[in-house]
C-alpha cells in the first residue's frame, strides 16, 4: 500500500504527544522538583540537593503515612479480591436471578468515590446514622466511626470495598467465562466435587485474571483519595492519611512543593516496584 514515511508520525503524534507531554514529562519533572526547595506562597525557589529526602526520612508524618498506606492496602486489596472472586464463582450461570445479583453488587461502581464518601458520612453519622441506630437496637453502644482514631481507617476501607468488590467481580466474571465448561465436566467425571473443581480447574485457569486484578487493585489502593478527603480529611489525628493524602497536604496545605515531589517519588517507586514484579511474573508465565 502507498505509504509516506512521515505518515505514521502524523497519526501517532496527537495521542503520543499528549501522553509524552502530560505523563512522561511530568515524571521527569517530578524527579527534578524533588531536588528543589520551592515555597508556593512566597515563590522562593532554591536548589536543595537531597535535603528534601533527608528531611522526609526524618519526618514522622511520612512514616505515619506509610503505615496507614500499608494498613489501607492490606485492608482493601485481599478482602476486595477474595470476596469478589467468591461472589463471581457463585454467580456463574445464566439464571436471571444471578444477573440481578450481579447488577446489584456492581451498582456502587458507578457512584463516584466522592459521592460514596458523602453517602457513608451519613450512614456513619454518630447520632443519626443508620449504622449506629441498628447497633443501638441490638444493644451495642454507638461507635464514632469516622471520628474515633481507631475505627476511622476501617470505616474508610469499608467504603472502598463497597465500591471495589463489584469492580473486581466483573473482571473475575469475565475471566471465568473463558474457562471451557467441558473442563468442569471432565473434572466432574473424574470425580472432583465443588472444591476440587475450584482448586484444579477454576484457580489455575484464572491465574492471569487474578494477577491482573491484583495489580489493578494495588494501583487503585495507592491512589485512593476522594473518599478520604470527603470523609475524614486525613484525620482524626492523621490516622487516615495515606501517602497520596500526605502528598496533597504537603503540596497544597503546607505549600512545600519540593518535599511533596520527594514523597511522590517514594510512592512512585513503590508502585513501579509492584508493577515490575507483576510484569516479571506474567513474563515468566508467557
Amino acid at each position: 500500500m502507498r505509504r509516506k514515511s512521515y505518515e505514521p508520525f502524523l497519526y501517532l503524534t496527537p495521542g503520543v504527544f499528549f501522553l509524552a507531554f502530560f505523563i512522561v514529562l511530568p515524571v521527569l519533572f517530578l524527579l527534578v522538583l524533588s531536588f528543589f526547595r520551592w515555597d508556593m506562597l512566597s515563590g522562593a525557589i532554591s536548589f536543595a540537593g537531597l535535603e528534601n529526602y533527608s528531611e522526609m526520612f526524618k519526618d514522622p508524618a511520612l512514616y505515619n503515612a506509610l503505615k496507614n498506606t500499608v494498613l489501607y492496602v492490606a485492608g482493601v486489596v485481599p478482602a476486595g479480591m477474595a470476596i469478589a472472586l467468591f461472589i463471581a464463582v457463585q454467580l456463574k450461570g445464566k439464571l436471571r436471578t444471578y444477573s440481578i445479583y450481579r447488577t446489584s453488587i456492581f451498582m456502587p461502581v458507578i457512584v463516584s468515590l466522592a459521592a460514596s464518601g458523602v453517602i457513608w458520612l451519613w450512614i456513619y453519622d454518630y447520632r443519626s446514622g443508620i449504622l449506629n441506630h441498628l447497633l443501638s437496637r441490638i444493644g451495642i453502644s454507638q461507635i464514632n466511626w469516622l471520628g474515633n482514631p481507631d475505627t476511622a481507617l476501617i470505616s474508610v476501607i469499608i467504603v472502598t470495598l463497597w465500591q471495589r468488590i463489584g469492580y473486581n467481580m466483573v473482571i473475575f466474571f469475565a475471566g471465568l467465562q473463558v474457562i471451557p465448561e467441558q473442563l468442569y465436566e471432565a473434572a466432574m467425571i473424574d470425580g472432583a466435587k465443588a472444591s476440587g473443581q475450584f482448586r484444579y480447574v477454576t484457580w489455575p485457569n484464572l491465574l492471569p485474571t487474578t494477577s491482573f486484578v491484583l495489580v489493578i487493585n494495588l494501583i487503585f489502593a495507592f491512589r485512593d483519595f476522594d473518599q478520604i478527603y470527603v470523609m475524614t480529611r486525613g484525620g482524626p489525628m492523621s490516622r487516615t492519611t495515606t501517602l497520596v493524602y500526605h502528598i496533597y497536604e504537603t503540596a497544597f496545605a503546607e505549600f512545600n512543593i519540593g518535599m511533596a515531589a520527594a514523597v511522590t517519588m517514594i510512592l512512585f517507586l513503590i508502585v513501579m516496584a509492584v508493577t515490575y514484579l507483576y510484569l516479571n511474573y506474567m513474563g515468566e508465565k508467557a
Binding site: R2, G15, V24, L30, V111, P208, L267, V271
Partner: protein, 270 residues
C-alpha cells in the same frame, strides 16, 4: 430445589441487599423532612418531599457545575477517542522504526495514575496560566494509553481487504481510517466513551487541585463543598448526591454492558 441452592440464593440475596442498601437509604433520606430524618430509621415514607431536590439544586451552584462536568467530560472523552484511534491505527497498521518502544511506552503510562503527577502538573499548568480554566482540565487528559491499546487491538482484527478495497475505490488513508476502519471498532469506541465519561464525571481530585473559583467546580467538588457547608442538612445533601449521580446512572442503564466490557477487557488476557 436442592438445599444448597436455596442457601446459595439466600446468601447472594443478603449480599446484594447489603450492597444496595446505601442506595435505597439515600433515596429514602432525600425524601424526608429535615427534622424527621434524624429520628426516623425505617424505610417507610409518610410523605415524598420532592421539594428537597429543588431546594438542593438551588442551594448549590449545580447548573454551572453540571455544565463544567459536562463540557470537560465530553471534551476529554471525545478527545481521547480521537487521539487513541489515530495512535491505535498507527500502531496496528503502520510499520516504522521504534514501533515496539512506542507501544511499550504507551503501555507503561497505563501504570502511572495522574494522582502521582499532580505536583509537577500543577507547577506546569500554573506556568502556562491554565489553572482554573477549561484548558487546564481538558488538555492534559487528551491522551489515554488504555484507549490506544484498545483501538490497536480492534483495528488489528479488521481484515486488510477492507482497506485495500477502499484504496482501490480511491480513498485516502485518512478517509479509510475514519470511514472504513473506525466504524469496525465502534464497540470499542462505545466502551471507551462510557468508561471515560464516567471516570471524568466522577473525578474529584483533579478539580480540587487545578481549580479554585466557585465558578470552576465540577459536580463532585460541588458536592464536597455542599457537604462542608451544610454538614448536617442530610436531607438536601442526599438529594444532592442523587442529583449528581443521575447522569452516570443513566449512562449505566444505557450502556452497562459496555461499561462492564471496558472493565473486564484487561482481565481476560491479563
Amino acid at each position: 430445589m436442592k438445599a444448597s441452592t436455596i442457601f446459595k440464593h439466600l446468601l447472594l440475596a443478603l449480599i446484594s441487599t447489603l450492597f444496595l442498601m446505601p442506595f435505597v437509604w439515600i433515596i429514602v433520606t432525600s425524601l424526608r423532612g429535615p427534622v424527621e430524618v434524624l429520628r426516623e430509621h425505617t424505610l417507610i415514607l409518610s410523605r415524598f418531599r420532592w421539594e428537597n431536590y429543588i431546594s438542593a439544586w438551588r442551594a448549590s451552584n449545580f447548573p454551572r457545575q453540571f455544565l463544567n462536568s459536562f463540557v470537560v467530560g465530553v471534551s476529554v472523552t471525545l478527545g481521547q477517542i480521537f487521539t487513541s484511534a489515530l495512535a491505535g491505527y498507527a500502531l496496528a497498521r503502520m510499520e516504522f522504526k521504534g514501533k515496539k518502544i512506542v507501544f511499550m511506552t504507551v503501555l507503561a503510562t497505563l501504570i502511572i495514575p495522574y494522582h502521582m503527577l499532580v505536583v509537577p502538573l500543577f507547577v506546569m499548568l500554573a506556568r502556562f496560566g491554565w489553572i482554573n480554566t477549561y484548558r487546564g482540565l481538558i488538555i492534559p487528559m487528551l491522551a489515554n494509553g488504555f484507549g490506544i491499546y484498545l483501538f490497536r487491538q480492534f483495528f488489528k482484527k479488521v481484515p486488510w481487504q477492507l482497506e485495500e478495497a477502499a484504496a482501490i475505490d480511491g480513498a485516502s488513508r485518512w478517509s479509510t481510517l475514519w470511514r472504513v476502519v473506525f466504524p469496525q471498532a465502534l464497540p470499542a469506541a462505545g466502551t471507551l466513551f462510557i468508561f471515560t465519561f464516567v471516570a471524568e464525571w466522577n473525578d474529584l481530585f483533579r478539580w480540587l487541585i487545578f481549580t479554585h473559583s466557585t465558578e470552576m467546580r465540577n459536580v463532585q467538588l460541588g458536592l464536597s463543598v455542599f457537604q462542608e457547608q451544610f454538614a448536617t442538612d442530610y436531607v438536601r445533601l442526599m438529594a444532592a448526591v442523587v442529583i449528581v449521580t443521575v447522569p452516570t446512572f443513566i449512562l449505566f442503564v444505557i450502556g452497562h454492558k459496555k461499561l462492564i466490557q471496558g472493565i473486564s477487557l484487561g482481565g481476560i488476557k491479563g
